[in-house]
């Protein structure tokens, strides 16, 4: 593409991402927007970032301003739409957002030549439906959505299925689902035996209906973002759809908290590195990605963030320093566990609009 191309008023008109001249060789910096607390910390610094700067001479401007996929998208969309630089060279978006970004032509293909370590990508993540061959994205962290519960409030019961979550009278009015559609609806779909890779509009609508019924019956008290953690910990929420990383953290405080990955399956999500259109330091960004695809480096990160590492060999690297963590099935899931994980398929624009609308009608109704 050409940087001088006039910004078009209608989005989506350009499906080929715009690229800017790469200043990587002259400016030894890379701007990375990431989620909060998604990076190892020691003494007020990020050791792996410092090490990267030391090793390559590239300074990472690490900005923890990616708080929410939708909000972040709303913030950068007008810039991307009008063909302007977002000021960021790389960020980490969740799978479905990556799908949208690719669809809209807002992200650039990765130059794998600069990322030799990309081969360390975990096998389960190499071929995702929304980005075949991983040409635009590489996962940064992954996790599962399952069912978290607080035995204090369930009356000692464990919650093992979505069906129980949505219908067990013991949980009535003390259940929360996530506002993350693909996790909340995904779990219900899986429960119904639907594969997330092939989900149809009818199946989706049926799942929505199940949730709507539960909501109308007063079973569901709310749909939450990350703020589900506090009520779960205190017992104000008895059971909810929850993410692995959070539960690992919560359990450190409160070991009695339960977490189930339903037998029928559960969702797997990843937050993925992508390089936005018009990024100024694409090559530096790719070097950065490459750096984190070194298992030893990823192990350092993992020791802090407790999510699922997408890099092969991380578990081995971590075993030396922290064997308990290395043996945690939620951080380093076994192959058997991974086999049950599903990823929501990429949606067409129309599907995305329709599904989201249905789901939001439920959330804000």
């Amino acid at each position: 593409g050409s940087p001088g191309k006039a910004p078009t008023s209608s989005a989506g008109a350009s499906k080929t991402p715009l690229s800017a001249p790469d200043l990587s060789d002259t400016e030894k910096v890379v701007n990375w927007s990431n989620w909060q607390a998604y990076m190892d910390v020691a003494g007020g610094k990020h050791p792996t970032l410092d090490a990267f700067a030391k090793a390559t001479g590239i300074k990472v401007k690490y900005n923890e301003d990616y708080n929410d996929n939708d909000e972040f998208f709303a913030k950068v969309r007008p810039l991307l739409e009008s063909g302007k630089d977002t000021g960021r060279d790389v960020w980490c978006s969740t799978d479905w957002m990556v799908a949208r970004l690719i669809r809209l032509g807002y992200v650039q293909p990765l130059d794998k030549a600069n990322i030799p370590n990309a081969t360390n990508l975990a096998d389960s993540l190499t071929n995702v439906e929304f980005d075949p061959g991983r040409s635009f994205s590489l996962p940064w962290q992954s996790g599962f959505a399952g069912i978290g519960f607080n035995p204090k409030s369930t009356g000692g019961k464990t919650v093992t299925t979505m069906d129980q979550l949505l219908h067990d009278p013991a949980l009535k009015g003390k259940v929360t689902l996530l506002t993350e559609m693909r996790d909340s609806v995904g779990l219900v779909l899986i429960e119904q035996g639907v594969s997330l890779a092939t989900v149809t509009a009818d199946q989706f609508a049926a799942a929505i209906q199940v949730i709507a019924d539960a909501k109308n019956a007063g079973q569901i008290k709310g749909f939450t973002g990350n703020d589900y953690t506090k009520p779960l910990a205190s017992g104000d929420t008895a059971a909810c759809v929850a993410w692995t990383g959070d539960v690992v953290q919560l359990r450190l405080d409160n070991p009695s908290l339960g977490f189930t990955l339903p037998d029928k399956g559960f969702t797997l999500w990843s937050d993925n590195f992508v390089i936005p259109a018009m990024a100024q330091h694409k090559k530096n960004a790719e070097k950065l990605i490459n750096y984190y695809y070194d298992p030893a480096v990823m192990a350092q990160v993992e020791a802090y963030v407790n999510y699922v590492a997408p890099v092969k060999g991380t578990k081995e690297a971590l075993t030396k320093s922290d064997p308990t963590m290395a043996n945690n099935d939620l951080i380093f899931p076994s192959d058997a566990t991974l086999a049950r994980a599903q990823v929501f398929r990429g949606l067409t624009a129309e599907e995305e609009t329709s599904f989201t609308r249905q789901f939001q009608a439920l959330v804000t109704g």
Partner: protein, 264 residues
């Protein structure tokens, strides 16, 4: 009984004050927590760790600094502009006054998401790069209405005789303003400035839209952090800000009192 009647208002006032401050107390308590994980929800054990390392959460102190500076700058500017406008609206009658009043209410009635997004679109079409400037502009925009409304109430009830007395004593309008009007309206302006600062310092939604890649404000930091667990340092900052404000006021008053004593 008599005592109760005389001090009833004090008792109620203190109770309401307590209502306002209870959450702060929770925040203070948890600033001494040492959570086992990232989440600072459950009391785990007493520790001074966070206090000894208040900037231990990377980026937080930078974000705090930015928020403070933006809060002070935007409160200052919007207080000045808002006070001026409040005087015009509270005191003069002119064509378009009702419309102007309306215009003042509109920004307060606009949902923040919408305001943030439309501002972003505007900035982009103006070619303004997101960053401190855009945050500042946005903050002034949504705080100025609050200042106007607060100050106007005070201006409206000002006794004009005093300003006339000043004019009679050779004070130009500007001098009248600074020497008589301002001191008398000061509580209103002070309240407006406090509101403006508070709104600016605590805003997330509008700010998030208009912040640049490297301008992370404190609320953005907290919001983001809460997605993965809130560091104890956030509570420390809350406590420090809280106690700091109290200390500043206390010291200022002590100095004022001493000066008065020296004067007398």
């Amino acid at each position: 009984m008599r005592w109760l009647r005389k001090n009833l208002i004090v008792i109620i006032g203190l109770l309401v004050m307590a209502y306002i401050l209870i959450p702060n107390i929770v925040v203070v308590v948890f600033s001494f927590n040492k959570p086992a994980g990232h989440y600072n929800y459950e009391w785990s054990q007493f520790s001074l760790d966070a206090w000894l390392d208040p900037c231990g959460a990377p980026g937080m102190c930078d974000a705090l600094g930015l928020s403070l500076w933006i809060g002070i700058a935007s409160a200052t500017i919007s207080t000045i502009m808002g006070t001026m406008a409040a005087f015009a609206l509270g005191r003069y009658r002119f064509i378009g006054r009702s419309f102007t009043n309306l215009l003042v209410f509109f920004p307060m009635a606009t949902p923040e998401v919408v305001m943030g997004a439309s501002l972003l679109t505007l900035f982009i079409s103006m070619g303004l790069e997101s960053g401190q400037t855009t945050i500042l502009i946005a903050h002034i925009l949504f705080t100025v209405s609050f200042v106007i409304t607060t100050v106007k109430a005070r201006v409206a009830s000002l006794d004009p005789a005093l300003e006339q007395a000043a004019a009679d004593l050779y004070a130009t309008p500007a001098q009248t303003f600074w020497k008589v009007t301002f001191p008398l309206v000061a509580p209103g302006i002070g309240a407006g400035a406090l509101l403006a600062f508070a709104l600016s310092f605590d805003d997330y939604i509008v700010t998030n839209f208009n912040a640049g890649a490297t301008t992370l404000t404190f609320p953005m930091f907290v919001w983001g952090a809460s997605q993965r667990g809130t560091p104890v340092q956030i509570n420390v900052i809350g406590t420090v800000m809280f106690l700091g404000a109290v200390a500043i006021v206390g010291i200022a008053q002590a100095i004022g009192a001493r000066r008065r004593k020296v004067d007398a």
